[in-house]
Symmetry: D2
Subunit: 439 residues, 4 copies
Amino acid sequence: MRATQQHTQESCQKTLLDRYLKVRQQTLALCAPLEVEDYQIQPMDDASPPKWHLAHVSWFFETFILKRQLPSYKVFHPAYEMLFNSYYNGVGELWPRTARGLLSRPTLEEVFAYRRHVDQYMSELLSTRDTSELRFMVELGINHEQQHQELLLTDLKYNLGNNPLKPVYLEPVPGFSTLSDLCFVEFDGGEFEIGADPGAGFIFDNESPRHRVLLRSFVLANRPVSNGEYIEFIEDGGYERAELWLSDAWNYCRANREGQHQKRWTSPLYWSCRDDGSYWQYTLGGEREVDLNQPVCHVSAYEADAYANWRGYRLPTEFEWERAASGLLVEGNFIETGCYHPSGRVITDTSVKKPDLELMFGDVWEWTSSGYTAYPGFKTFAGQLGEYNGKFMANQLVLRGGSCATPQTHIRATYRNFFYPPDRWQFSGIRLATDMDHV
Amino acid sequence: MRATQQHTQESCQKTLLDRYLKVRQQTLALCAPLEVEDYQIQPMDDASPPKWHLAHVSWFFETFILKRQLPSYKVFHPAYEMLFNSYYNGVGELWPRTARGLLSRPTLEEVFAYRRHVDQYMSELLSTRDTSELRFMVELGINHEQQHQELLLTDLKYNLGNNPLKPVYLEPVPGFSTLSDLCFVEFDGGEFEIGADPGAGFIFDNESPRHRVLLRSFVLANRPVSNGEYIEFIEDGGYERAELWLSDAWNYCRANREGQHQKRWTSPLYWSCRDDGSYWQYTLGGEREVDLNQPVCHVSAYEADAYANWRGYRLPTEFEWERAASGLLVEGNFIETGCYHPSGRVITDTSVKKPDLELMFGDVWEWTSSGYTAYPGFKTFAGQLGEYNGKFMANQLVLRGGSCATPQTHIRATYRNFFYPPDRWQFSGIRLATDMDHV
Amino acid sequence: MRATQQHTQESCQKTLLDRYLKVRQQTLALCAPLEVEDYQIQPMDDASPPKWHLAHVSWFFETFILKRQLPSYKVFHPAYEMLFNSYYNGVGELWPRTARGLLSRPTLEEVFAYRRHVDQYMSELLSTRDTSELRFMVELGINHEQQHQELLLTDLKYNLGNNPLKPVYLEPVPGFSTLSDLCFVEFDGGEFEIGADPGAGFIFDNESPRHRVLLRSFVLANRPVSNGEYIEFIEDGGYERAELWLSDAWNYCRANREGQHQKRWTSPLYWSCRDDGSYWQYTLGGEREVDLNQPVCHVSAYEADAYANWRGYRLPTEFEWERAASGLLVEGNFIETGCYHPSGRVITDTSVKKPDLELMFGDVWEWTSSGYTAYPGFKTFAGQLGEYNGKFMANQLVLRGGSCATPQTHIRATYRNFFYPPDRWQFSGIRLATDMDHV
Amino acid sequence: MRATQQHTQESCQKTLLDRYLKVRQQTLALCAPLEVEDYQIQPMDDASPPKWHLAHVSWFFETFILKRQLPSYKVFHPAYEMLFNSYYNGVGELWPRTARGLLSRPTLEEVFAYRRHVDQYMSELLSTRDTSELRFMVELGINHEQQHQELLLTDLKYNLGNNPLKPVYLEPVPGFSTLSDLCFVEFDGGEFEIGADPGAGFIFDNESPRHRVLLRSFVLANRPVSNGEYIEFIEDGGYERAELWLSDAWNYCRANREGQHQKRWTSPLYWSCRDDGSYWQYTLGGEREVDLNQPVCHVSAYEADAYANWRGYRLPTEFEWERAASGLLVEGNFIETGCYHPSGRVITDTSVKKPDLELMFGDVWEWTSSGYTAYPGFKTFAGQLGEYNGKFMANQLVLRGGSCATPQTHIRATYRNFFYPPDRWQFSGIRLATDMDHV
């Protein structure tokens, strides 16, 4: 028994190390098509340079695991604690977020060496030690790195997409499909359990505690809003009609903002309208014509809300979304497909009884109307990691379901992403909802 | 029968006209202590000049009632439609909010004449016509004017309080009292009705529809946080400890903001700390020493949240607040007392069984953790008045209970006020809450 | 002999007091048409409220004369030293310039009382004491008040001119005339004396020392550029052609600047072009059609330079201007005419031999290409008054000749005014020049 | 005769091509120590990335020479015309200056290929054609590239010097020396010729026409102000005493400006004061202690003026400087020494009679009090190149003498450099002057 148990434990630990190394490798693989210069730049305050992402995720393992649990650990460079700290005031001073792109040193090679250094010690640690706390911390670090894989892609897209040369990151992988006809799926009201089940594997603190909520009957669109449908909104003067917009949204989208990229909005981010009336968009596979039958992407919550108003619908709450997604298989177009763009391709899920809902996972994050706040009884992670999620519970909205830039193993029905209402450089789209009695 | 009914109708209508005239008169009474110059200035973008308030509330009656329901109405000045439109894009162009203080014309005398002009035609209209729509519109206009009575006072306080001469608006009226000892009142969880009962008189659209919510058991402080308790937070380094603050809050309160009044926060608005360690605050009755036994006031939601964290508590949700306030008499220190400052004086309410909760109404608005969003099934007022409340349902938090600057007849348990988390020029304070099992 | 001398001295002193009182009275007279509200507002950072001007000029006499030379002087209000200090760091702290319009207190009445208080003590002082230092200080204070008379008018015009009601300050006084045909007057080169003769009465420090400069032969336009000529520039695309503009000018005039009044420039300040192609401008006498035969006004140095480029000319240097103006009588359209607008009316000067130059004084300040710098051997006024002129010798250009808002007794050929190149709320115009061999 | 002449012409042309290739090579040599990442970043709006400099100087040859004079020229990439246009509106649209660092593409390799492409065609052109216009244009292009060599170094220093890792660009080359004792050299007044002699080889348009100016007698310091002398100013509270500063300077240097590098000034750029009271500065050879006997560097004109005031002196005018420098050999510490820092080392000049003036050339640019304006009769270069210098004649001051980052063959006594008064990222220092009668 004992031997077996130990064997299993070794296997598990080996598995954890394997998973660690695999995720680390995936991060590097995402970078393979990049030029050194691409790693360096920060095209807006929110879009960190790839080099910074590479260093920061290593910093996370170094700061929260190696420095604490591996006595033999040798710090790679003392200044990195400050340089690659994202927002952990508890850890100490930090380099200003807005100046991440101004650090030409350390060089990319030095950051790669830093990664290898961390990987070597992590391998040593995971080969020699196994505690539940360590396992949790490594799981957290892995999930953290997955989040930065997505951010690295979205930030890179902002870099390349605002370059007038419109560089291609990778030639597009085939696999695009046509969206189904729009229809609405009905959901009865009642009391429902929301949030993650504690025994179900790694979860973030913000997904818990699981708790009951009361929902009214509602309907949810079978699929995200398509580009074609969104163009109807544009061409009906959607961006010019104040009555469709929230007050903050109207003031924001009408303003000429500083910097060269923030003009008055007239379409989703990365779109342009040519003289012949055709719409084009920058994708990581280069500039291409907007496909009317694909999910609209790179819209803010402000635009999502205005669109829904225009159609006579509303955005779902995060609870409605989770209730609808509950039990669905987590399948779809994720980062692993190498598509890096919403594909509209439905992976048929024969195991559940709600086949009507398509593309709940992958393709585009779906804005909800729910403010990102604490669930009743919420407790942050302990210690300095309490800053991971909790302190952002102000002014942001919840998005659900993951996108074509999310690792598949990272997402689940209870997962809560959060961005500010005007943000649109994420792969974010729209799924319509309304009250049952409204239809 | 017929005669009686008509008689009653006349009485009612007379009553409505009386109430209209009374509220209009109350607005003028609030202005009585002002100098002409006080009416003119706009000390920050959000704080409109009293002259503008006086004109705008008249504009409201003119635009939404007189121009539509009284064919004989003569427009006072054609430019006023644009100049005194607050935010109704549906009505037409509007003078920029940030430039309201830059209009030396029309003069105050002209604005008074405008008010009299509107009052005269409103009297004519209300003496000759009676429809449910008219009654609703007049009720709305009266409530609108009451809201601006409070705003006029808070904006005026920002004007005078930032003047180095610290002018006195009115000598303080006696009536201050000492807060009770802090304790917590328990509330069982369950399903509760939230929102206004449609038959209960005038309500705003944002208070409806009445709907059921699920609450966990919770406790609520018997009274608002006192100045003395808040000073403990200050002196424990509360404003210097990042771990207590939301991320947006920390960035905001640490910044040196433009303009002379927005410095790094170290205390509530209007406070100063003297060399001898005593705390002083500007009140509408002049500068006076902070009374440790009065409710703390002029704190933002960011500060309220940080304070609650520091105490190991949290802010209530708006549903918890409403469930606790439900059934309480609306009594307290309102604008009618002429105190214009939180008094801490409890009006004993012998009619209900929850005598433990003090000062739920009046004194200070109480920040909740609830984002200002639509209730399930929410419908805005019809037409252009749909812009009244609905379009502000983004980025703001709900406050409850009214303040010492709120008209008593304006407030109720279901009333939802809303401001941005950093705002603190309203009479806003803190009531602590937490989960029952947390205690 | 002695008696006579004393008598003369008394007369002189009486004259000085008379002049003091007269100038003080003129300031009040300028304010007579104003409403209380007009005194209060600050429509842009550079345009101080009339109330502030009224207080500041009194502050000047109080601070630099009464507090120092009259032991019996009683300070009117201790806070005024800070509130009405314009920019004298040597005197102490000062209220931020950008917040002058935010002080509703002291009220206008209090400021008038402050003026009377100062006048009373000044009368006492000037009746009892006579030293050359005192005489100089009073002369300086009188000239200072005259400068603020002009600023009061230009700031007031910015206030009223940006009010959509376009209020009339005073009905225009007749006296407009038609400009002469444009021609150019030749001036031979050589060495010339520039700057004020020390024995010639009051001068500012920046006009001295008188020194020799070397000039090449040049020609100067006989009169300022007219509105009609300037419209040709507009209609030839002048505001859209980068090649005509200085780099800083192009960047400035193309920008959409913050605030409601600073839009991309397409014409002089206060102008608008109607649908029928006619040009209108706000004047202190109200909105009226642009008179093609009047001097163009309210242009920045950037516009003046671009216009001159477009015409194939340049702006004169301040030395060329002074050499040309030397010996001319100081006659023209000044504040005393009550016109408050360029009139184009030439006061025939039969006493000199250069009758060709018209309107060198009055009507519009004329931009020169000369940076506002120290004359060789320049010494500032002594003590704290050294801040009066010297510290502004950076980034500004010299203007010459006075305007329709300048008191006639304040101006002379050696007088140097100075503003930043983009400034255009002064009554500033254009006189063309070029090298003799260029013609 | 003919043959000889042709031979000479070939030699000359060969020489021009040789010089072209040599300068191009020198630019690359300056870049040799850089990492790819260093080429990419733009640490402030004014400091362009090295990659951009490399491309822009090639763009200059392509745009103004190859496209016009070499019919066989093949454009390297059509988008480069816009991307690498610095400020020539006449050429067409241009990529925003503030976003130069946001272009990760073209890559450095592509920019190098662009350079080789241009060099190849330039070699072809210069081997086959020889006209005076071509010769002039190539000379201009060479001088232009030399200017960008200096800018590349100063911009790079801003990049590395604001990196907390304080990277070393190149180990410092020896050759530092001790400054002489400070004394003042007298210059008699009179009429002097200023500006470049047309027959004297390549000059910029802004150095001409040569013209006479009148100077009063003056004295000039024998050498620039030293670090030690400047520290006395710091330690005497120089940065805290308003009376020493121009008004614009005081407002500027006291402000907390946006971005991480623009704090309230307390010392020259790149300096820091350690706890032990020692002063350190970043140099391109790394962080090192400030040498009290070296010229102070990286001060703005505002600081230079305040320092001079504090010492009871003033800055020289550009005419005084040129009159003093006239006839001196152009020797000193230039970019060719590889020192990249002021050395204080005097190259003894035995050929002239003014041995007293040291370090007039090289080491540090010397701020003058002269606004950068047109000389009398100034004509810009023809055509689009008219934008080279003329349009910047506003708001800037002239600096003279070149610095340790200036190519020796680029500088001369009549050379006028120009920057804005607050700029201090150039190698700019101070030489004191005053009137003869002032001493």
